[in-house]
Subunit: 265 residues, 2 copies
Amino acid sequence: MARFSFNQATAKHWPLAEAVSGCAAAGVPGIGLWREPVQEYGLARTAKLVRDTGLTVTSLCRGGFFTADDWRDDNRRAIEEAATLGTSVLVLVSGGLPAGSRDVDGARRRVVDALAELTPEAAAAGVTLAVEPLHPMFCADRCVIATLGQALDLAERFPPGVVGVVVDTYHVWWDDTVHDQIARAGERIAAFQVADWVTPLPAGVLLGRALPGEGCIDLRRLREAVDAAGYTGPIEVEVFDATLWSRPGPEILTATLRSYLTHLP
Amino acid sequence: MARFSFNQATAKHWPLAEAVSGCAAAGVPGIGLWREPVQEYGLARTAKLVRDTGLTVTSLCRGGFFTADDWRDDNRRAIEEAATLGTSVLVLVSGGLPAGSRDVDGARRRVVDALAELTPEAAAAGVTLAVEPLHPMFCADRCVIATLGQALDLAERFPPGVVGVVVDTYHVWWDDTVHDQIARAGERIAAFQVADWVTPLPAGVLLGRALPGEGCIDLRRLREAVDAAGYTGPIEVEVFDATLWSRPGPEILTATLRSYLTHLP
């Protein structure tokens, strides 16, 4: 379990303080946090809480959404928050097309420009901007970066350590080039997240993910690929599923840990 | 309107004979047919009907589904049906993963093997096996061929004219390499289908398509790209949308034609 990290969105309704102490009590070494619950609990207070429990914050979700009007300030705050929480990984989801736009190339250029603006502050804070390609079904409304290859084309314009990529099994498994792209990514891999693919997809498609082993992704092969590429960091399980969310937090953690231990190491 | 073709699945509940005569009466030059309604109306009877009305059958949907037990016989029948209907384009959707499988590479190898078996009969019948990449959200359950690049890697193992590809805007628009791949495709483009992308996606995601112009795809740019690649064939509008389907067939045809004329030529 040394590499296991519990992304708090897997138990969306578990209050932050309980999730942190629940993970610590279960001997879980790492937790992935989200900005909204951190802000709600208080940034400094969260930082102290995780420090006191000895838990590692493996990532902060999320910056990005570069089509929003306040993207600059919001992403600067996100970099500071990551640094305060002691994590070097800020997950960035680029945002989709602006309302009414059909210019996907333009939206993608905007991501490059935004990263260029943010990199000095990220570098100064010791935070890696971890660009996450989302599954192409989110291209219009959440993330115009749709493949790992595309994320790497973007990241490689900047120094490694400052801009990296997230490999999330749910988003990349279908891609026939994914193993080549993981090998290419090498030290750019800033985070490895895991969820499984099940069908049918629910309306809105956001909450259709499943615990490792419940779906059709060869998770172990992808884990071996990121390892072979040189990644030695945490393996963060991040599942959005309304049925799972309806269970008590400690039960979700137990189920997640069991799935992880059966299907990843 | 010279290149317009009405895919009959756009008006799923419009009886075949009415759809054919409705298209002919509206001066529509082409229609894309589906095997199930053709079988229901009778293959020879359908062939005679379209011949009598002077309508061109621009494609037959669909063969493929190579993970089904009877794929060989079923695809042989599909080739014969296409030839009988006088169309040279048999759209192939590969099928997803077999139940319980996590071996997406294996499923993809099976597609290559199946095509190799079918090409002699297709060539003899004068029918192009038109491999359609579906959007990656269908990879698990409908089609392990998820990008145009992947479809071309597959098609290029076989002679042009025998194995081609379908470019469907709905399935490929999100791909940052799609314009390069369309240029690469050249004479391999056996069909060009059009639908628009709208969100949120409905449960099951199959019926979430929209008429041209209602969504976020730059359809005209993709049409210009297939033209620039040398494609001079029909432009088939194929939209699966439960609300659209609930309208009378003639209304659907009118709306489809209006969308097409506004957003494609």
